[in-house]
């Protein structure tokens, strides 16, 4: 197949389901072009931070989503806004995995790598398997650019790239040629080379183009000349693919079968922001977001600030502490208080979270985790705030912790976190991460009237009597016997005036109390309230299709995709494995201990140094096998599968080696 199917071998990328290239289209000049059907493709676009790779990737994603493929994306960009042009630190990339079937990850390695300059080549080539298709903008491989990243000779010409399918294309000059009559200067015209590239890829993978043209018209509606130039470049790229001899083959990846319904593609941060808007609507409470800009959470602030018509107030505070402080103040006033941040921000908010624990007010704290400690890797993903979320406060300050597992799941997880915050009158931490935040996938659009009812009842009347028997008193810490939640009486409600604060509260009255027995009682009661949430959590799902697994793999948060993909590989090799994925990290599901005890071995992959494993060991006395990685990137499914295979085979020597899997196509 090599030669007609450049760079995509079945072993690497799945199966070309149309075994012989069908000669369906012919280009002008009698050039016969063939179409190869593939079941899945992983494309990575890489260029300088200024080359617009994220935008190009985003548009290709939209086209792919509209076409109906299942997809998963991995944007990867530097923390520097514009590192010096053409240098390694400035390289930005976007990886997209799309398929004609259900997939779970953005792909371990690209089948196709598009590089816009030598730096992008140098930074990404290591990930492109031998035989992979490599498209390079030859215009940018100048002596100066080559020297910047230490190439002694031009790799496009010196034969060093022979093990890949190299297609050297003068993307920049073809773009400027196409825009010669646009009235734009050369520099300005060059900026459309990403759209030229997108056009070429759109031809190559039979993507619909109308959406991108509409998008460009919308995006540049105040600059019609720029809009026209980008559209012209986009079409030129498409036409180039159709006419050039450089690409003899185009590829078709059929739509993935999906349950009937209406879909869109959505990123984690967008889904999370929509979840907050929906939570406000379904609770009937005004939303108040107090936030301070921080990567990778800022997009939630940006998104919510667009939705004022839903009664959403957004407040860009002077610092992280003011962000959560204002949110808590709004909660005291009867709003759904929300604060959004990343790890360093959570550290700063810790004291106010403690105040929310003490005052027992609903509050949603969103932590979009990134690499740490300190400033760490602001634009990269990690799961290393779990223990901070659980324990990062002074005193015994239990807080429920929820983690979404995919970009779209950020929506549901937000509603669940809100349910807990409102029902139990407690701060709740929602642990997303950089991978979920920026990654995207198709999302089944929910019907609003099927979303959960989150309405709350404020206290409107006195609920007890004073110690001396005086009736008609309001006791702000008299609890609901079932949930242990205290009443939420909002200012403005006559007769329910009360004072709350960070000093220890006397049971029922909420007055200041230094009584030793009361402190012991209140500390245990606050803990019992959070522990009691477990009663409202559905039974833990165990995914063990064969029903005979002796090894279970347990994860939380964004590792769901890679772990799930690894499990599919394991099962395809004839082995059994059970997958358990946690949404609730505090309290843990009531049935979890019993479930883990069923297996000979429990493996826990995490993008930290074993934080959940530590908890599971402490809580259930299970000898958890912790597998960890903190590379700032999601796990690769193949690597995880190898880890699982080792554990399984050491437990029950069976089955053929993993390499003998019927095919790698199911991932």
């Amino acid at each position: 197949m090599t030669g007609t199917n450049p760079g995509i071998s079945p072993a690497e990328s799945g199966v070309a389901t149309g075994m012989d290239p069908a000669t369906r289209s012919s280009a002008p000049g009698g050039l016969v072009k063939s179409v190869v059907a593939l079941d899945r493709v992983v494309i990575r676009l890489a260029g300088d931070s200024g080359d617009g790779m994220q935008l190009t990737g985003g548009r290709f994603t939209s086209e792919t989503a509209t076409f109906g493929n299942d997809l998963s994306t991995l944007p990867n960009f530097p923390a520097e806004i514009r590192a010096p042009t053409g240098t390694l630190p400035g390289v930005s990339s976007f990886q997209l995995h799309f398929a004609d079937h259900d997939i779970m990850t953005p792909g371990d390695a690209p089948d196709v790598l598009v590089v816009m300059n030598p730096a992008a080549l140098k930074a990404n080539l290591v990930d492109l398997p031998g035989g992979g298709l490599l498209i390079a903008d030859s215009d940018e491989f100048t002596p100066r650019n080559l020297a910047k990243v230490g190439y002694a000779s031009n790799p496009l010409e010196d034969g060093s790239l022979d093990k890949w399918q190299l297609v050297s294309v003068p993307l920049t000059s073809m773009t400027t040629d196409a825009l010669a009559d646009s009235g734009l200067g050369k520099k300005e015209a060059e900026r459309s080379k990403n759209m030229f590239t997108l056009g070429l890829l759109s031809w190559m993978y039979h993507r619909p183009t109308e959406g991108t043209i509409r998008f460009l018209e919308r995006q540049f509606r105040r600059k019609p000349q720029i809009a026209a130039a980008n559209i012209a470049a986009f079409r030129a790229g498409f036409n180039y693919g159709e006419t050039t001899e450089a690409f003899a083959v185009s590829y078709e990846v059929k739509p993935a079968p999906m349950a009937p319904g209406k879909y869109r593609h959505i990123s984690g941060n967008q889904a999370l922001a929509y979840g907050i808007v929906a939570a406000g609507q379904r609770s009937g409470l005004p939303v108040f977001l107090g936030a301070y800009p921080i990567t990778p959470a800022s997009d939630i602030l940006h998104e919510l600030s667009k939705h004022k018509s839903f009664g959403v107030r957004t407040f860009q505070a002077e610092d992280e502490i003011a962000g959560i402080g204002a949110a808590l103040g709004a909660s005291f006033g009867g709003a759904l208080g929300v604060t959004t941040t990343s790890g360093p921000g959570v550290a700063l908010k810790a004291e106010t979270i403690g105040l929310a624990v003490m005052t027992e007010l609903p509050l949603l704290i969103v932590d979009v985790q990134r690499g740490g400690p300190s400033t760490g890797l602001p634009t990269k993903t990690e799961q290393s705030d779990l223990l901070q979320a659980l324990f990062g406060r002074n005193g015994e300050a239990p807080v429920p912790v929820i983690a979404p597992r995919s970009p779209g799941d950020c929506f549901d997880a937000t509603l669940e976190a809100t349910r807990i915050a409102l029902t139990y009158r407690t701060p709740v931490i929602l642990l997303s991460d950089g991978y979920l935040a920026n990654g995207a996938e198709p999302w089944s659009i929910p019907a609003v009237d099927e979303l959960p009812d989150l309405r709350v009842e404020f206290a409107t009347a006195p609920n007890g009597s004073a110690e001396d028997g005086t009736e008609g008193q309001f006791l702000p810490y008299l609890r609901d016997p079932e949930t242990l939640a205290r009443p939420w009486a909002v200012p403005g409600t006559a007769g329910l005036q009360h004072r709350i604060g960070g000093l220890e509260k006397a049971d029922k009255t909420g007055n200041i109390s230094y009584d030793p027995a009361n402190h012991d009682f209140m500390t245990r009661t606050r803990q019992a309230k959070i522990d009691g949430i477990a009663a409202s959590i559905p039974p833990t799902e165990v995914d063990d299709p064969d029903g005979d697994a002796s090894v279970a793999v347990i994860g939380w948060g964004s590792t769901y995709g890679p772990i799930g993909a690894a499990c599919r590989r394991i099962r395809a090799s004839g082995r059994s494995v059970a997958q358990v994925h946690l949404r609730h990290l505090n309290p843990l599901p009531a049935d979890l201990g019993e479930i883990l005890a069923r297996y000979d071995r429990v493996v826990c992959p995490e993008m930290n140094l074993g934080q959940l494993a530590l908890l599971l060991r402490a809580k259930y006395l299970v000898d958890v096998h912790s597998h960890t990685q903190v590379r700032g990137l999601p796990f690769r499914a193949a690597e995880l599968a190898a880890v699982l295979q080792d554990v399984i085979d050491s437990t029950t020597p069976t089955a053929a080696p993993l390499e003998a899997a019927p095919n790698g196509a199911v991932l």
């Binding site: 998963s72 879909y263 609770s283 107090g290 659009i445 979303l451």
Partner: protein, 370 residues
């Protein structure tokens, strides 16, 4: 990862459509009928024993506030007092209103969220010199520049009382305290200058023991739309007793106090012997009244848009408290933050009605048919 239908099983019943937000708050408030706005001082007291040191200036301020608040005609359930940490911050426990005794320095931030989301409330912040100017300095200046509708009472006793006697951000240079046995090296803040530097729309100063002057400034502060900051000189009789004696003493007080009355010439001292005139650099200086023309004497104008004048007033006094202006330095009208935020929400709603279905569907959806 989407080949399964979207399931929203959160263990909660699917409820009716809730399309109007804030309805729940309104309903809760309405449940108790008309507001009771005719109050007496005793209606504002709580059953909690007041626990400041005997002789503390805080008692006087509490009494003054409880006596004058009923005259504002605000129902007590519509008042919220938010405080930080320190002696002064115990204030909310003694007021039969809604209140939150929060954490050190953060009261302005917490009150901002409350006031911005509930413009119907009268929100007060009670804080001290350490709470507001040291750990909470950032929140204070940003609250002032935003002009959130809050009344901030800053009790300044120039010492840390609750932690038992360390120097504060308003302590004089050279002050000997537990943490500065050889004298403090820190140059103090002038809270009024600081507030004016942050473009505060209302800044006043009063003395704890001056019931009339304190009440007058508090009333104007409470009636002001936007952030009002009132610095109250408050005596800590345990750790910094007599800090303001120069101004309180019946013989020295009048010599060193400049009463600020809008529209009145700035003449003070026994027999009106001293006055305030402009200096050569656009600032202000003290002069002897009989040495200048009456026309040279500055007539106090608290409504000046340019804060430079009020700032110059605030610079007349220094650490030793001589020539301390008391009263309202500045009182100008500017849209308040909560009002502007509410306006934006209303404008947005008028431009595009809230339609959650449309929001979730977005611009680029596709349908998979059965």
């Amino acid at each position: 990862m989407t080949a399964t239908p979207h399931v929203h099983d959160l263990g909660m019943p699917a409820g009716p459509d809730v399309t109007t937000v804030a309805g729940a708050i309104d309903a809760s408030i309405a449940a108790n009928g008309p507001k009771q706005t005719e109050l007496k001082a005793k209606d504002l007291k709580t059953d909690q024993e007041v626990r400041w040191c005997p002789g503390c200036g805080d008692y006087v301020i509490l009494n003054a506030v409880q006596s004058f608040l009923p005259s504002l005609g605000i129902a007590r359930e519509d008042m919220v007092i938010v405080s930080g940490i320190g002696c002064s911050s115990r204030f909310p426990y003694y007021m039969n209103t809604y209140g939150m005794h929060s954490i050190h320095g953060r009261a302005p931030a917490i009150a901002t969220g409350l006031a911005a989301s509930r413009p119907d409330l009268s929100v007060w912040v009670v804080t001290g010199d350490g709470d507001a100017l040291s750990i909470g300095g950032n929140h204070l200046i940003h609250t002032l520049r935003r002009n959130v509708n809050l009344t901030i009472l800053l009790f300044n006793n120039r010492i840390y009382g609750l932690t038992k006697g360390q120097y504060s951000p308003t302590s004089e240079v050279g002050k000997v305290t537990k943490s500065t046995p050889m004298g403090s090296l820190d140059h103090p803040f002038n809270p009024v200058s600081l507030a004016l530097g942050a473009d505060a729309t209302f800044v006043g100063r009063a003395m704890d023991s001056d019931r009339k002057g304190l009440t007058d400034v508090l009333r104007q502060a409470a009636e002001h739309q936007g952030t009002s900051l009132v610095e109250i000189y408050q005596n800590c009789n345990i750790f910094n007793d007599g800090a303001f004696e120069l101004l309180k003493d019946p013989t020295t007080g009048p010599m060193w106090t400049i009463p600020l009355v809008h529209g009145e010439p700035l003449v003070f001292g026994p027999g009106g012997a001293s006055c305030v005139v402009r200096d050569d650099f656009g600032g202000l200086r003290i002069a002897e009244t009989n040495q200048v023309d009456a026309a040279q004497i500055v007539v106090h104008d608290a409504h000046r848009e340019d804060p430079s004048y009020a700032f110059a007033l605030s610079r007349l006094s220094s650490q030793d408290l001589r020539y301390t202006p008391m009263g309202v330095f500045r009182k100008v009208s500017k849209p308040s933050y909560d009002r502007m935020m509410t306006d934006q929400l209303e404008d947005a709603a008028a431009q595009e009605p809230a339609d959650l279905d449309a929001l979730l569907a977005g611009n680029d959806s596709w349908t998979v048919s059965a």
